[in-house]
């Protein structure tokens, strides 16, 4: 009698039952639902042009989110990724004189270097990740702007621009890069010692240390990986834009990347990394943005709605996991 009463009371708004069968894979269903919704209600959504556009736009988010997933996997966070993109972008016009391969490599090295900086402050100095990377979030973009001057720098180097525009078998090059990186990261997560070290450091750092894991080196590595991937995203974005614009490139990217990881169902406390879920999370974030733009929603309301949807998505998954 008592218990049945309680059940009836709980029924009206109980997301936990919905999510108990979606379980741990909530993000895929949520993404599917969003795509179906758009296919029905949004004009021109189910077209090849939109399809490729979406993938091209999501590519940098995927790259950055892959690195973010590793960092978050250790229980950390890297909010400097947007500024790292800007730095990589600023390095490109400065080094393009030596040929595009040099420019690309220097851009990537710039990212790795910033990552090493972050890693040093987190792993060796013992700073809180958000504080350590905040310094470069703020200072990094300023540095990038100092490097190229106040105005954006147009880039004419054809082979370099091809990195952003070329297609191989119809597939845009940035999408190929993102896919390759996703495969590599999936491999790292599932098959390498680093993958175990990362998840152990996030799940129980003390136990990992007592198991003899190189915890510092692990932390150092994830920030460097995150820096590398953000640098790569910055270089590709520069090629696509055909200009180095450190004031704009990668702006607020850290938020999209964190959102992708969180919506993907990985806890901010760390201990879990899933590349497929990161991909789905990144797609989700981008599809929402596209939905609003394509339906001519005011960008202000779009932001609000985006926030609400993210909270809702996380809530459903949290309930699901507990059930």
């Amino acid at each position: 009698m008592d218990t049945s009463d309680a059940l009836v009371k709980r029924r009206p708004f109980d997301l936990s039952r919905l999510s108990s069968w979606t379980g741990d894979n909530g993000i895929y269903l949520t993404l599917l639902g969003l795509v179906i919704f758009n296919a029905i209600f949004t004009n021109n959504f189910a077209t090849t042009v939109t399809f490729w556009n979406l993938l091209v736009q999501v590519a940098p988010i995927i790259l950055v989110a892959l690195g973010m997933a590793m960092v978050i996997g250790t229980g950390g966070i890297d909010i400097s990724v947007g500024s790292v993109m800007a730095i990589a972008s600023a390095i490109v016009p400065l080094t393009l004189g030596w040929g595009w391969p040099v420019a690309v490599i220097c851009g990537l090295l710039g990212g790795v270097l910033v990552g090493a900086f972050n890693g040093f402050f987190v792993a060796v100095v013992g700073m809180q990740p958000i504080v350590a990377t905040l310094a470069l979030l703020v200072g990094g973009r300023g540095l990038a702007q100092v490097m190229v001057g106040a105005y954006l720098q147009i880039i004419y180097d054809k082979p370099f621009l091809a990195l952003g525009r070329a297609r191989v078998l119809e597939i845009p090059f940035p999408v190929i890069v993102a896919a390759v990186m996703a495969i590599i990261m999936a491999f790292v997560v599932n098959r390498t010692t680093l993958g175990r070290y990362v998840q152990s450091a996030g799940a129980n750092r003390r136990a990992a240390y007592l198991s003899g894991h190189p915890v510092r080196l692990t932390l150092m590595s994830v920030y460097m990986i995150s820096g590398f991937l953000a640098g790569l995203a910055g270089v590709l974005a520069t090629a696509r834009l055909a200009a180095s614009d450190p004031a704009k490139i990668g702006l607020l990217m850290e938020l999209d990347a964190i959102a992708a990881v969180v919506v993907g169902g990985m806890p901010l406390s760390g201990g879990r990394v899933s590349v497929p879920k990161t991909l789905a999370g990144a797609l989700f974030v981008q599809v929402i943005t596209a939905t609003f733009i394509m339906n001519n929603l005011s960008p202000i309301w779009a932001q609000v709605l985006k926030g609400i949807i993210i909270v809702l998505a996380v809530y459903i998954q949290r309930r699901g996991r507990r059930a």
Binding site: A203, Y209, S211, G212, H213, G271
Partner: protein, 525 residues
């Protein structure tokens, strides 16, 4: 001075705080079973018991952190039901924890008056009055500090005093002190005791918890001993000699033999060279000059009360706690154990006491938990060999009889006993393993698993491993060890083996007695 309690423990006036028939259950364990407790005004009441005896739970019930399942808490003669520690504090029950619960960046005065700052007519904080009153209040306790200085600039002991001053200034009638001395230096402890005596003389009831038994005899009048959630003794402290107290806490018979303990070097169980030697391990305030050695095939037990430095010694040897001085030799070779990974590379392993906090890696599978320490050995170029991992898992799941449906199952779904076996497997799969340190290997696992683990420890020694076994259960250390190192206050109190290895001898060493002449009220002023 009038005694607050008569000889049978009943208060001469109304008890200020009383618990009657408290029953509290947590999933799988009865934490408090029909516990009754009386605190008289002007009494310093010792609360004693081993880890997991229910002390903390009782304190939490008294201060409103937990609600009892059955039974009542009576404060000043009235049944009360505090919903939170805040309510208890407002009513007059203050709790002081081991870690100071104040705000380090605020000034001393601000901390004392936090939440009830004196106001000016304008409604702003009257800092002058606040500073003056804080200074007066601290002067009552003979503490002279700059009350405008941030709290964190003071020593831990003084911070503790500030916490107590705050507690008293909000008209506390009961002050509960949960291990207040564990981070204090000797002189600070003296100051604390002086303050406690002042509180007692003002008629305030004090509940005092410590793991240093001498402190009980120095400051307390009454004692309640808990074991496994039951009150096993309650009465005036001067009628309970230290040795009896230890026997009561451990649930053992009082030792009868009056024999002297001969302290001799380890007898030769094997002629082989020791696999693990620790010499003069010292870390100020934690352990001092601790030495021991373990031969292949030998089980060396570590006995001692809570806070005696058993776990700390183990961690120091394993590289998980930095040392001020001392050397560790593994297989005759001196090793600078600056981290666990160095210790592991040299053939040492450590199974921690707190499985959840330091052992298992939640969210990861049983497989990944087992091979966690073996990763460098089953990978090439950073690439983990699935096959090698599977082989290890298969072998040890069978060998240790780990009950697991699927090695990909998350570790947290296993029972405590099976988790412990996983942690053992984590080390046993290392080919170069020479010595194994086990901290409370059978705590919190069911009887069946306990027997299995104990049997396994013997077998491992038989295979030539050197084993250090830390245990709070006397029976376990005595039956399982070839020799036992007894620690007390961070020092080796004695080493016993052979026929000398008896409960009585261990308890005497824990009590810091070389003979058996425990006087009632030993150490009382």
């Amino acid at each position: 001075m009038e005694q607050p309690a008569s000889q049978d423990g009943a208060c001469t006036s109304t008890p200020i705080l009383e618990a009657r028939g408290i029953y509290k259950q947590f999933p799988g364990v009865v934490a408090l079973n029909n516990v009754s407790f009386q605190l008289c005004p002007g009494q310093v009441h010792a609360l004693a018991g081993q880890n997991g005896s229910g002390k903390s739970t009782l304190i939490k019930v008294l201060t409103g952190v937990y609600q009892p399942d059955r039974g009542t808490v009576i404060f000043k003669g009235q049944p009360v039901s505090f919903g939170s520690p805040r309510e208890a504090q407002a009513a007059g029950i203050s709790t002081i924890y081991q870690e100071v619960n104040l705000i380090p960046l605020m000034s001393v005065a601000e901390n004392i008056f936090l939440g009830r700052e004196p106001k000016t007519k304008m409604g702003t904080v009257d800092s002058q009055r606040m500073n003056r009153e804080a200074k007066e209040l601290l002067a009552d306790f003979d503490i002279e500090v700059d009350v405008r200085a941030p709290l964190r600039s003071l020593g831990l002991g003084v911070q503790q005093m500030v916490a107590i001053a705050r507690a008293v200034s909000i008209q506390a009638e009961v002050v509960i002190m949960d291990e207040p001395t564990s981070s204090l230096e000797a002189s600070e402890v003296e100051t604390l005791f002086r303050v406690i005596r002042q509180l007692r003389d003002k008629g305030i009831g004090v509940v005092f918890v410590t793991h240093r038994l001498e402190e009980f005899y120095e400051i307390c009048d009454q004692i309640t001993v808990l074991r496994d959630g039951n009150v096993v003794h309650s009465g005036p402290l001067n009628q309970l000699p230290k040795l009896s107290l230890i026997a009561t806490m451990l649930g053992r018979e009082l030792p009868e033999g009056q024999g002297e303990i001969t302290q001799f070097a380890a007898h030769e169980t094997t002629a082989a060279e020791p696999v693990l030697v620790a010499e003069g391990l010292t870390r100020t305030g934690v352990i001092e000059d601790v030495s021991f050695s373990v031969r292949p095939g030998e089980v060396v037990g570590f006995a001692g009360l809570l806070g005696s430095g058993r776990t700390e010694t183990a961690k120091a040897v394993f590289g998980a706690m930095a040392l001020d001085s001392g050397t560790v030799k593994i297989s005759g070779k001196e090793v600078n154990v600056r981290s666990p990974s160095v210790a592991i590379r040299n053939g040492l392993a450590f199974v921690p006491e707190d499985r959840r906090a330091e052992g298992i890696i939640p969210g990861l599978s049983v497989r990944d938990n087992i091979v966690s320490a073996a990763l460098p050995y089953i990978s090439k170029g950073g690439l983990v060999s699935r096959r090698a991992a599977d082989e290890i898992v298969k072998r040890f799941v069978a060998a240790l009889d780990i009950k697991v449906a699927d090695p990909d199952q998350p570790i947290e779904q296993l029972s405590g006993g099976n988790q412990q076996k996983v942690l053992l497997a984590r080390w046993l799969c290392l080919n170069n393993l020479k010595a194994l340190i086990l901290d409370e290997p059978t705590r919190g696992i069911d009887v069946g698993a306990k027997a299995e683990v104990q049997k396994l420890i013997g077998e491992l020694a038989g295979q030539g491993l050197g084993i250090v076994m830390i245990s709070s259960e006397l029976e376990e250390v005595i039956e399982g060890s070839d020799q036992v190192v007894v620690l007390k206050d961070g020092q080796v109190a004695g080493v016993v083996s052979g026929d000398e290895l008896t409960e009585g001898n261990l308890m005497r060493l824990m009590a810091g007695q070389s003979g058996a002449e425990g006087e009632p009220g030993d150490g009382h002023e």
